[in-house]
C-alpha cells in the first residue's frame, strides 16, 4: 500500500498497550476497508513512543503485513508523538486514535467526508462507549449545537482525543508537550481542543460514528492525570476575554 497517496492517514500512538494494540489495529483495518469499499484510500501509522517490547513486537508483526507503517520516537509524550506521526503522514486528512481503543467501521470514511466540506472543521465520533473495567457512554456534541458553549472548556474536555482534521490543521495547531510526571499538567487533547477553538476551528461530531474507549481500573494515563489534579497548560482560549 506504500507508495500510493492516501486521502486519510490514521495515526495510532502506542506505548505500553502490548497485545491490545493488535485489536486496535484490527479495528482500524476494518474502518480502512470500509472506506476503501467506498473509494477512500487510507494509511495506518503506528507511532511507538518509548514502547515496551510487547507493543513493539505487535507493531512490527503488523508492519510486516504491509498495511501498517511504524514510526519510533523517544518523547514520552502523547502530543509530541502525534505531531511526529502527522509530519510522517502523506494523507491530506489525519485521524488520531489511541493504541487500545476501537472505532466504528464508518469512522474514517464519514470523518473524511465531513472534513472535505470545510477546511476549518475538526471531526469527532458522535458517541463514546466505554468498555473494559468500567462501562458507560456519553454523547459528544457539535460546537454549533444549541447546548454547546466553548466556555465549558474551563471545567471539562468536551471532545476526547479521537479526532480527524486536515493535515494543515495539525501543522498549524500542533499538540503541545504536557510534561507529565508530576508537572501538574496533562490532557494534551483537551489543550488541543482549546487551542483549535481559539484559532477559529470548529469541532463537529460525525453522525452515527462511535469511539470505543477501553477503561482500565488502574494504570491509565487519564486516571493518573485525574488523580494528580493535572490541568491543561496555559491556553490562548483563556486569554481571549
Amino acid at each position: 500500500m506504500v507508495g500510493k497517496d492516501p486521502l486519510i492517514s490514521a495515526i495510532v500512538t502506542a506505548h505500553g498497550e502490548g497485545a491490545l494494540l493488535r485489536r486496535s489495529l484490527n479495528s482500524l483495518r476494518r474502518s480502512v476497508e470500509f472506506a476503501a469499499r467506498l473509494g477512500t484510500y487510507c494509511q495506518i501509522i503506528v507511532v511507538l513512543d518509548r514502547a515496551d517490547d510487547a507493543t513493539r513486537r505487535v507493531a512490527t508483526e503488523d508492519s510486516a503485513l504491509g498495511d501498517v507503517e511504524v514510526l519510533e520516537v523517544d518523547f514520552g509524550d502523547l502530543g509530541l508523538a502525534r505531531n511526529s506521526g502527522v509530519r510522517a503522514s502523506r494523507g491530506g486528512v489525519i485521524a488520531i486514535s489511541d493504541g487500545d481503543d476501537y472505532v466504528s467501521e464508518n469512522w474514517l470514511h464519514e470523518a473524511g467526508r465531513l472534513i472535505q466540506s470545510s477546511d476549518r472543521v475538526i471531526a469527532h465520533p458522535q458517541l463514546v462507549i466505554l468498555f473494559g473495567d468500567q462501562s458507560g457512554y456519553y454523547w459528544q456534541r457539535s460546537q454549533r449545537c444549541r447546548d454547546f458553549d466553548p466556555d465549558c472548556l474551563l471545567g471539562l474536555n468536551p471532545y476526547n482525543s479521537c479526532c480527524a482534521a486536515r493535515r494543515d490543521t495539525f501543522l498549524t495547531v500542533p499538540y503541545v508537550p504536557v510534561k507529565g510526571g508530576g508537572s501538574g499538567f496533562g490532557y494534551e487533547d483537551w489543550h488541543w481542543n482549546a487551542e483549535t477553538i481559539a484559532s477559529g476551528f470548529e469541532h463537529h461530531v460525525v453522525e452515527r460514528t462511535v469511539h470505543f474507549v477501553r477503561r482500565k481500573s488502574a494504570g491509565s494515563l487519564s486516571r493518573r492525570q485525574r488523580d494528580d489534579g493535572a490541568l491543561i497548560p496555559a491556553s490562548r482560549y483563556f486569554d481571549v476575554l
Binding site: N26, G184, F185
Partner: protein, 489 residues
C-alpha cells in the same frame, strides 16, 4: 440535632422547590430563611446573607442522556464478532452527561481575569479583609511587599464584606470574588478557577492567607500552580473542635499541599514545631516572623501612668475584647465574671464570622458584666479603672488584640500558642480552663500595684522589639529570595 435536621430539610427544599423559582423570588425566600435561622439559632448560621446560597444551576444539554441507539449496538456487536469478542456492554451502562452548556466556571474566571488581567508580582489570597488578627497580619505583609516596589493584588474568596480593604495601600488592587466563587456551589470548581488564573497569568508569587479556596486550589492542583508561581502561605495555629481535636487548614490541607509550598510564615514557633512533628514536614519550610506590636504613639498616646494612677473611688474594672466565637471561650469568661462580683467587666466585641458564635445574651444575668459592641480603636475602650486585660482564647498564635492590650494594661492569658513569647510569665495561666489561675492573678493585680507596674514594664520591653521595621527587615530578604529563585527557574 434540630439544626442538623433543618439543614437537611433546607437542602431538600432547595433542590425540589427553591432552585426552580425565579432568581429574585429564590433570593427573597433565602434571605428570609437566613434571617429566621439567625434568630432561632443565634450564632449558629454560617451564612450572613442569601448571597452564598445562590448557586447557579445548569440543566443538562438536550439529548445528553439519550440511550445507546440501535445503530450503535449493531456496530458494537459487529466489532465484537470481528475484532474483540470481549467487547460487551453491561445491561444498563451508565450515561455520563457532558455539561457542554456549563460555563459557570469560565464566567467566574472571566470576572477575576477582568479585575486582574495582568501578572502582578505577588497575589495575596484571603478569605476577606475584616477586623481580626489574621487580617491585620495580611495588611502587614501587603505593606512590606508593596514597600519593596512590587506590584501587589489581594483576592478575597469568601462571600463576606471586607471593610478593611480601605486599609490597603491605594496602589494595591483588591478583588472581591467571594460571591462569584460561592455561586459555583462546588469547592472544586472554585479551586479550578483560581488555579486556571494562576496558570494563565503566572504571578511571580502567590501568598495564601487563610483562604480555603486558595488552599483547595493548592491541594487539588498544586503541581500546576507551583510550576507557574512561587507559593507561600501563612498559618498561625490549629483550631480545635469541642473534644480538643485539631482542626483547620493545617490539618485538612497542609499535609497534602506542603510539597508545593516554598515557605510557610507563622507568628510563633510552637505550631510550626507541632506541624513539623505531626506531619513530617521539613522544619526549614517554616519561618517565624514577629508581627509588629502597635507603638504607644499609635495607640493615641495613652500613657501607662493613666492606667496605674491612684486608686479611683470607682469599683475596679477588668477589660475583655475579642470575637464572640467558640475559640475565645466566652463560657470561661462568664465563669470569671460570675466569680468576681466586686469587679466590673467591660466586654467588647462582636461575632465576626457568622456560625461560629456564642450566645452573648447569657451575660444578661450578670450585673457586673457590661457588654459593648465592636470597637474602632483599642485605646478608646481602656479606662483608668481597668486593672487588667483578660484573654480567654483556647488556642491561638499571637493575636493582635493581645499586642494592643499589652501596650496599655497587664495581660492575663493562657499558656497557648505564641502567647508565652509576649506575656509576662507570672501572668500566664496554665490553660484557658485554669479559672483559679485567672482569679489569683486578677486579685494580685488589684492589690499589688508595684508588682503590676513591674510586670507591665517587662511587657513593654518585649513589645518594643516588635517593630514594623524589624518585621520588614525579616520579611524582605525572604520575598526577594523567593522571587529570585522563581525568575531563575
Amino acid at each position: 440535632m434540630a439544626l442538623a435536621f433543618l439543614r437537611r430539610a433546607y437542602s431538600v427544599l432547595d433542590q425540589i422547590v427553591l432552585s426552580r423559582l425565579s432568581e429574585s423570588l429564590e433570593r427573597r425566600l433565602k434571605e428570609a430563611l437566613v434571617s429566621i435561622g439567625a434568630t432561632v439559632f443565634p450564632g449558629r448560621i454560617s451564612h450572613a446573607s442569601a448571597a452564598s446560597l445562590m448557586v447557579r444551576r445548569v440543566r443538562p444539554p438536550l439529548g445528553s442522556s439519550a440511550p445507546i441507539p440501535d445503530w450503535a449496538r449493531v456496530e458494537l456487536s459487529a466489532l465484537a464478532k470481528e475484532v474483540d469478542p470481549a467487547l460487551v456492554l453491561h445491561a444498563s451502562p451508565p450515561c455520563h452527561v457532558v455539561m457542554t452548556n456549563d460555563c459557570r466556571a469560565m464566567d467566574a474566571y472571566r470576572f477575576i481575569r477582568s479585575q486582574l488581567p495582568d501578572p502582578c508580582d505577588v497575589l495575596f489570597v484571603v478569605p476577606w479583609l475584616k477586623i481580626g488578627g489574621a487580617d491585620l497580619a495580611t495588611l502587614h505583609h501587603v505593606r512590606v511587599v508593596h514597600s519593596m516596589g512590587l506590584s501587589v493584588a489581594v483576592l478575597a474568596t469568601e462571600p463576606h464584606d471586607s471593610p478593611w480593604r480601605d486599609r490597603l495601600p491605594p496602589e494595591v488592587r483588591f478583588v472581591e470574588a467571594g460571591a462569584v466563587l460561592a455561586g459555583l456551589g462546588d469547592f472544586r470548581q472554585a479551586a479550578l478557577v483560581l488555579a486556571r488564573w494562576v496558570v494563565q497569568v503566572r504571578p511571580k508569587m502567590l501568598h495564601l492567607m487563610g483562604s480555603r479556596v486558595g488552599w483547595d486550589a493548592l491541594k487539588l492542583h498544586g503541581a500546576a500552580i507551583a510550576s507557574s508561581s512561587a507559593v507561600a502561605a501563612s498559618l498561625y495555629c490549629d483550631d480545635e473542635d469541642e473534644s480538643g481535636k485539631p482542626l483547620g487548614l493545617a490539618v485538612s490541607h497542609l499535609p497534602d499541599a506542603f510539597t508545593y509550598l516554598s515557605v510557610i510564615f507563622s507568628d510563633n514557633a510552637l505550631y510550626p514545631e507541632r506541624w513539623s512533628r505531626r506531619w513530617g514536614l521539613p522544619k526549614s519550610l517554616f519561618i517565624t516572623l514577629d508581627l509588629p506590636a502597635p507603638p504607644v504613639t499609635e495607640l493615641g498616646g495613652s500613657a501607662p501612668a493613666l492606667v496605674f494612677g491612684p486608686p479611683t473611688p470607682n469599683r475596679p474594672r477588668i477589660l475583655w475584647a475579642g470575637r464572640f466565637d467558640r475559640q475565645k471561650r466566652l463560657d470561661v469568661l462568664w465563669e470569671l465574671v460570675s466569680r468576681t462580683p466586686d469587679c466590673d467587666w467591660d466586654i467588647h466585641g462582636q461575632q465576626v464570622v457568622p456560625g461560629h458564635g456564642f450566645d452573648i445574651s447569657r451575660f444578661k444575668c450578670l450585673p457586673n458584666a457590661y457588654i459593648n459592641g465592636p470597637y474602632g480603636r483599642f485605646e478608646d475602650i481602656v479606662r483608668p479603672e481597668h486593672v487588667a486585660f483578660v484573654y480567654t482564647s483556647q488556642w491561638d498564635g499571637i493575636p493582635n488584640v493581645v499586642l494592643e492590650a499589652a501596650r496599655l494594661l497587664p495581660v492575663i492569658a493562657p499558656r497557648v500558642g505564641g502567647l508565652p513569647t509576649v506575656i509576662h510569665p507570672e501572668l500566664l495561666v496554665h490553660d484557658v480552663f485554669d479559672l483559679e489561675g485567672y482569679l489569683e492573678r486578677i486579685s494580685r493585680l488589684r492589690t499589688e500595684s508595684d508588682w503590676a507596674a513591674s510586670v507591665y514594664r517587662s511587657q513593654q520591653r518585649i513589645l518594643d522589639r516588635r517593630t514594623a521595621q524589624s518585621f520588614a527587615d525579616s520579611l524582605e530578604p525572604v520575598i526577594r529570595s523567593l522571587l529570585e529563585n522563581r525568575s531563575r527557574s
